[in-house]
Amino acid sequence: MKLPAAFRNSKGMIGAVLVLAILLVAVIAPMLIPDDWATRMDMRARLSPPTWAHPLGTDQLGRDLMYRVLLGAHTSVFIASSAVLMSIVIGLPLGLISGYVGRMTDNVLMRLVDTLLSFPALLLALTISAVLGPNLQNTIIAIGIAFTPYLARIIRGEALRVSHMPYVEAARTAGNSDRRLIVRHILPNIMPAVIVQSTISLAFAILAEAGLSFLGLGTQPPDASWGLMIQASRDYLDRAPWTALVPGAAVALTVLGLNMFGDALRDALDPRSKGAS
């Protein structure tokens, strides 16, 4: 099979490799590395800089940062991607219906979304998480709901714009039912916006999980997540900057990979970017 042109350039390639590598780590690391390697404390080597024994250094409890970051990938990537997926599953139909149907439906749905939007996303997630109780599943639900209104707003705007395009009207007079119109004509044309927004949301979701963990509602210590690691490093930034740099680099690489991958995916779906064939 031939790779789409968008993935054959260096940017798309790097993005795809990064995303694949991170997914691989998230899935395989928990199978290969025993759980306790990330929680085993070495009190003699607290806040140790990178050494042969601890290639990426240790944290304030002498836990190995390499193992923590490798095992934390699972939690962070799983929570963030599930939450974003959830916000797409709710936000996409919400925005589509709101933008396509318009009138009263739009008004009702969007006032609902506005209400959600008026709370800071983290506060909203915090409340939901506090009500439902702190565990992995509820963290996902909390972040997913908190992120939904942003996505719904963007999708509604795009749906509104696209459904007034002449090609949608032409498709309507070609006898398409509302359902076919949405699925075949509107959806493909708003996908670029959905992809871009989703990749950005993923980065924020990783950080949102960190925020919840910091407040004691997300991942529970001693389990590792990138967000939790960044939060924990706060007090040692001056003495042991690697405690922040290591998980920070993991988040940065993930976001970078996702952005590049998202751009390439968007281009791959767009027939215009393939050039004359």
């Binding site: 006898g175 398409n176 075949r184």
Partner: protein
């Protein structure tokens, strides 16, 4: 003073390149021509011919768009001697731009800054280039507004661009370009975005200013009719190259190059259909003559009967977004289209012609009135029956770039109506699509392509193929050729006439272009402020226009013949009033005088307001 024998501008071997992904793209090459002082040179060409790039190079504005002048000289005669603009430094260019060379752009709304008053925009240049004090600059601005004959110039100075009409805005832009008494005025498609009456005003204004001040004009346009009205000399461009250059009469009566001849052949000229009973395809050079032309039906049978159609759009406002007023887009319009005939609706922007077409299809819901298609009432159908009714009437939209889904292959888009109306499936579906592509003269290899791989004209053919797929009885063509280059426009018009002759399909042809309408229509309706002010056979309306608005519209149309210049006199048409009325406003019904059989002229209300 300048020596009048010496050219003001002499462009020598200009070459402009743009950076592309796969190396430089040559936009203009080997272009050489001169402009004498006080002369109007028209550069004419279709899209992509490099005409705008040439003019932007002269201002060195092309560099701001990613282009680069890679060869040639652009000599401009100044008081201090000749300067080569291609190699002038930025400081010199700044002192020339807006001072010795003025420029007018296409879109009068976007070439004025919406957050500054007219005074502020007009005095800026005067203070920079002339070092005038605020008071003196203001006095000069006022003088300029008087020179471009804007009504109530004092009041305009205090206004913002959005408070002025399109025509007035373009007058302000021209006044600004004239501020420092430039020796050369570059006008890049200055009337393309304007209505025909406003175009006539602006053209006559530019012509008068040229004669009064002795400045030279470099006029960029795609419209041969405008060229015929404005030019002293003409430069014809095609794909970045200069094709032909010469005095305007020479170019029009005795073109030497094939391309110029083809371009001229494709231009419909108002009045050339006089005395002909039916529409007639254009004779295109290089193409085989059209196989068949539509003939009037011997016994016309009505297909579409529209009676008392009214469409109003609500204007929302206030805290609760209540309806506070109505736009009366279509007001009590009635007409009939016979089988196999074309009725054209003409009028200026905002006259309701598009709304009328959309209301017939119910893409926009009409407020009241009745639409009968083959005796069945369209207006009372529910959603499902309406969808079925679209089998008999289809639409072709204006913008071929927006009317095809960029994410779908062309064959899929043409197949959609066939699948949805269950007209064909399997191998029959494939055959039908292939036949449709043949029908609109597109190669079958295009079937698997995406819209972006086609040119505008080719896309419009696909849109026509999609409309034809269901064998409709009526096709509503809403400005279907307006976005196309003139040679492509001629081909698409011929295709439509041919299809009508062979398939007996009726057209509602909505257009602002009187010359095109004269060419294609059996009957013509003129719309103004939502009303049909005059309707009749083509001969009746074009050869014996009765309504004052029809007459002023006809007088404003530029004619592609330099021997029939009509813009010499300064003209000002009455601006079209607003169609927004308060809630509950009920204008009277449209009443018509029948001046001859089938030729109706509106008698109430409007007569006074247009004259």
């Amino acid at each position: 003073m300048l020596d009048s024998d010496r050219p003001l501008v002499s462009i020598d071997n200009l070459r402009v390149e743009f950076k592309g992904e796969d190396g430089p793209i040559v936009a203009v090459e080997n272009v050489s021509f001169t402009i004498a002082p006080g002369e109007t040179v028209c550069v004419v060409g279709e899209s992509g011919s490099g005409k705008s790039v040439t003019s932007l190079s002269l201002m060195r504005l092309v560099e701001f768009g990613g282009g680069e002048i890679t060869g040639g000289r652009l000599e401009f005669a100044r008081d201090s001697g000749t300067t080569d603009l291609a190699h002038a430094d930025p400081d010199t260019m700044r002192s020339i731009r807006g001072d010795e060379i003025g420029m007018i752009f296409q879109e009068p709304m976007t070439s004025l800054n919406p957050v500054f008053t007219i005074e502020r925009q007009m005095t800026d240049g005067l203070r920079v280039h002339r070092g005038l004090s605020a008071g003196k600059a203001r006095a000069r601005a006022l003088e300029l507004l008087q020179q471009v004959r804007i009504p109530e110039p004092e009041r305009r100075l205090k206004q913002y661009p959005h408070e002025l009409s399109g025509g007035m805005r373009q007058r302000v832009v021209i006044a600004m370009a004239m501020a420092c008494e430039p020796r050369l005025l570059i006008a890049d498609e200055p009337t393309t975005a304007l209505d025909v009456t406003i175009q006539a005003e602006i053209l006559s204004l530019i012509d008068r200013l040229k004669r009064e001040t002795g400045m030279a004009v470099l006029f960029i346009t795609h419209d041969m009719a405008v060229v015929a009205q404005m030019a002293d000399r003409v430069v014809v461009m095609f794909r970045g190259n200069l094709v032909e250059e010469g005095p305007v009469e020479e170019i029009f009566t005795n073109p030497k190059q094939d391309y110029t001849r083809a371009l001229l052949a494709a231009v419909p000229r108002l009045g050339e259909m006089r005395g002909k009973p039916a529409p007639e395809p254009m004779r295109l050079i290089g193409a085989e003559p059209a196989r068949s032309a539509p003939v009037p039906a011997a016994k016309p049978k009505p297909l579409l009967e529209v009676s008392n159609l009214t469409t109003r759009y609500p204007v929302k406002g206030g805290l609760f977004r209540r309806t506070i007023a109505n736009v009366h887009a279509v007001e009590d319009v009635s007409f009939t289209i016979n089988k196999g005939e074309t009725l054209a609706l003409v009028g200026e922007s905002g006259c309701g012609k598009s709304s009328c077409g959309r209301s017939i299809l119910r893409l926009t819901e009409p407020s009241s009135g009745q639409v009968l298609l083959d005796r069945s009432d369209i207006t009372s159908l529910n959603d499902r029956d309406l969808r079925r009714a679209w089998r008999d009437m289809q639409m072709v939209f204006q913008d071929p770039f927006a009317s095809l889904n960029p994410y779908m292959r062309l064959s899929e888009q043409v197949a959609e109506p066939l699948i949805n109306f269950q007209l064909a499936a399997g191998s029959e579906l494939k055959d039908r699509i292939a036949t449709l592509f043949d029908r609109v003269e597109l190669p079958r290899s295009f079937m698997t392509r995406f819209p972006h791989e086609l040119s505008g004209g080719q896309r419009q053919r696909v849109a026509i193929a999609r409309a034809l797929a269901v064998n409709p009885k009526l096709i509503i063509a809403d400005e279907a050729v307006s976005a196309l280059d003139v040679s492509v426009q001629a081909q698409v018009l011929n295709l439509m006439m041919e299809l009508q002759a062979e398939l007996g399909v009726s057209f509602l042809f909505i257009s602002h272009d009187m010359a095109v309408v004269e060419r294609v229509s059996h009957r013509v309706g003129v719309m103004y402020l939502g009303r049909l002010v005059e309707i009749g056979s083509r001969a009746q309306v074009f050869e014996n226009p009765q309504h004052p608005y029809t007459r002023s519209l006809m007088s404003a149309v530029p004619i592609a013949d330099p021997t029939r210049r009509s813009i010499r006199e300064d003209v000002q048409f009455r601006p079209i009033p607003s169609p927004v009325f308060p809630l509950g406003h009920e204008p009277g019904a449209s009443e018509y005088d029948e001046v001859s059989p089938g030729h109706l002229v509106l008698k109430n209300g409007l007569g006074a307001s247009v004259q």
